[in-house]
């Protein structure tokens, strides 16, 4: 039985080899052609990075003191003319329960 099995393997070996070689060709070809997709993905990464940089610039500009103070002035905010400070010794709370 073992001899029969061995003979069968010997007969099938060439077919198996051909199948393996064919499979390697197919996988290699598939991967080789993927280069274009890799290039496209990498380009997308670069595009997103550029977009992030552009948006970071917009955020920095919008949140800058320069912009906020200009907007505040345009909305009518002014610098206070006077400040009053209330220290702990000045602050008295009176509570009536009646």
């Amino acid at each position: 039985m073992i001899r029969a099995f061995g003979k069968l393997c010997l007969h099938l070996l060439p077919i198996f080899l051909v199948l393996v070689v064919l499979a390697e060709f197919m996988v290699t070809n598939y991967l080789a052609a993927k280069g274009r997709e890799v290039g496209a993905v990498e380009q997308k990464i670069v595009d997103f990075q550029d977009e992030n940089e552009r948006l970071a610039q917009q955020i920095a500009s919008a949140s800058s003191l320069l912009h906020v103070s200009a907007e505040a002035r345009a909305m009518g905010f002014i610098e206070p003319a006077q400040y009053m400070t209330i220290g702990p010794e000045q602050f008295t709370v009176a509570l009536s329960t009646r």
Binding site: V38, L65, L66, S69, G87
Partner: protein, 558 residues
């Protein structure tokens, strides 16, 4: 036989010739041919590193990068050169004659049109649909706060190879940290130039530049810039500067000098404006120096706040007469009154008690005559004259801050020692450096040396509080706050003598006196409304101090 030898010789000659050719192609030209072959099947891409950012103390950006491009033309791909030129000129505003000749040159395959073109302009150029027009990424710096802290930041220009390089300020000092390191990708490509996934590939990632986080507080910087600008206008000064330091850490909380420039358009400004005068220009400190000499006398125990002297008239030093600033003399006065009244005669008394060697030693120990080590590119220090070149009058005038040159950063650092128990700190603008991978390097505060004891610093602090409360500038002081300070009015030396009218008015101080949050120096050069520090620099100091008290939440009496 002869014919056999002839044929043999011919074959031998042929063999030698082929061997020599093989040697040439494989050995001499081998590397060149290998490179040519590699260029056909392999591609190399540079992964450019982003320049590091500069952030304020609250991590908000002071300097970041914005997308920009290098615009170029490929003459061989241009269909109509004149149409190309006029279209590009309309958008870029470039001078046509500069590149007309270059585009017409048949040998050229690449012509530079403009550096660092911003995105909106690039979009307009792309919309033209011109063939032969190309773009390469070339980021440029962006300043969200415009010209704020220009002298602190410096600017980015080009080196001799056209690469970005930082000049002045932090951009210059930390150029290598900010620059980063470009990466590279080498991989095999197919006939269409697409990468082959299973081919050989080598990738070295770019290392972006490090990010700097500063001690500079954006709100404080904004206060300084607004107030200094108002002050220069109000007092008719030629120039002015303000620097604020945390006396406990040496961290620079704010630093401004006018006139200034915009780092984005640095080429539009005079080159003389690039240097930060606070670290690179010297001046005679005048009476602000008196607090330091007084502290030396107290530290050496040759005087105390209650030591008295007779201020009865000008004091003669060799052939010179030392007078008080207003030529008024008050008889018996103590050292606290000497500081309150800013008496030059009193200070010469202190210097004589201290002695020449000690006075010179304390001047050096307080850090004068040498750079402070602050982390900006252009710091310089005026040298102190050699001991053997000091005359009697030099010691006398040095005691009240004339005849000696200092930089503002040296002055504020020295007075900082009076505020923090006697320690000379190394001033720093950068607090942390963040690497591209996220590791944070904290720059620890550095104590250089202790010049006076904590007890001496407390005594001198009280004397300086008295000088503010009872001195010439008391009218401007915010009520309810204990501020230690000293006015200064120094004449400007011109061609070997002092100008009669021109002065540098200054005020140096720290507050709150009992637990100082900041030490600040204000200088105004040639104020025209009044030459006196008590009427110009001092009120400006107190105006800024009021803003800072509000900002820090410091109430009167605290």
């Amino acid at each position: 036989m002869f014919r056999m030898w002839l044929i043999f010789s011919l074959f031998a000659l042929l063999f030698c010739f082929i061997s020599l050719r093989l040697f040439y192609w494989q050995v001499i030209a081998g590397d060149r041919l290998k490179a040519r072959a590699a260029s056909q099947y392999s591609a190399e891409f540079i992964l450019p590193a982003s320049r590091g950012k500069i952030l304020a103390s609250d991590s908000s950006p002071l300097v970041i990068n914005q997308p920009a491009f290098l615009a170029y033309a490929e003459p061989k791909k241009i269909k109509n050169i004149s149409h190309f030129l006029s279209s590009v000129h309309t958008v870029l505003g470039a001078n046509e004659t500069d590149i007309d000749g270059l585009l017409a040159d048949e040998e050229r395959s690449w012509v530079l049109l403009a550096h660092k073109v911003e995105l909106p302009v690039v979009e307009k150029l792309k919309a033209l649909g011109l063939s032969g027009l190309g773009f390469e990424k070339e980021p440029k710096r962006y300043y969200p706060e415009a010209s704020m802290a220009a002298h602190v930041l410096g600017f980015v220009g080009s080196d001799e190879n056209g690469r970005d390089k930082g000049y002045f300020g932090l951009e210059g000092y930390y150029d290598r940290d900010l620059r980063g390191k470009d990466g590279v990708v080498e991989l095999e490509k197919d006939a269409r130039g697409m990468p082959i996934l299973i081919g050989e590939a080598k990738r070295i990632e770019a290392e972006d530049g490090r990010t700097l986080v500063l001690w500079v507080d954006k709100s404080i910087q904004n206060i300084l810039e607004n107030r200094l600008s108002e002050g220069i206008r109000k007092y008719g000064a030629q120039e002015g500067s303000v620097v604020i330091m945390d006396p406990q850490t040496g961290g620079i909380l704010g630093m401004v000098s006018f006139p200034s420039y915009h780092p984005q358009n640095f080429l539009s400004y005079e080159k003389t404006l690039y240097k930060n005068p606070i670290v690179a220009s010297s001046y005679e400190p005048g009476s602000t120096f008196k607090a330091l000499v007084m502290s030396a006398g107290i530290q050496e125990k040759v005087i105390s706040p209650t030591t008295t002297m007779e201020e009865i008239g000008p004091l003669n030093v060799n052939e010179y007469a030392i007078r008080t600033w207003n030529n008024e003399y008050h008889g018996t006065i103590n050292m606290t009154k000497v500081l309150e009244r800013s008496s030059n005669v009193g200070m010469v008394f202190v210097a004589q008690k201290l002695g020449k060697e000690s006075l010179l030693r304390y001047i050096r120990d307080f850090g004068f005559g040498q750079p402070t080590g602050i982390d900006v590119e252009e710091e310089s220090s005026p040298a102190l004259r050699d001991r053997k070149n000091w005359t009697e009058i030099d010691y006398a005038t040095a005691s009240f801050g004339q005849g000696i040159a200092v930089t503002p950063i040296q002055m504020v650092r020295a007075v900082g020692a009076l505020a923090n128990g006697g320690w000379i700190m190394e001033p720093h603008i950068v607090k942390e450096i963040i690497e591209s991978r996220g590791r944070v390097l904290r720059i620890k505060p550095k104590k250089i040396r202790q010049v006076i004891s904590p007890a001496t610093s407390r005594i001198v602090t009280e004397m300086m509080v008295a000088a503010v409360d009872n001195g010439e500038a008391k009218w401007a002081k915010p009520s309810g706050y204990r501020i230690a300070g000293k006015t200064g009015t120094a004449q400007i030396p011109v061609a070997g003598h002092y100008d009669e009218k021109k002065t540098i008015a200054s005020f140096v101080g720290f507050a709150p006196a009992d637990n100082p949050k900041f030490v600040m120096l204000v200088t105004l050069r040639e104020p025209t409304s009044s030459p006196w520090g008590s009427e110009t620099a001092a009120p400006l100091f107190f105006t800024i101090a009021r803003d800072l008290f509000r900002y820090f939440g410091i109430t009167p009496g605290q």
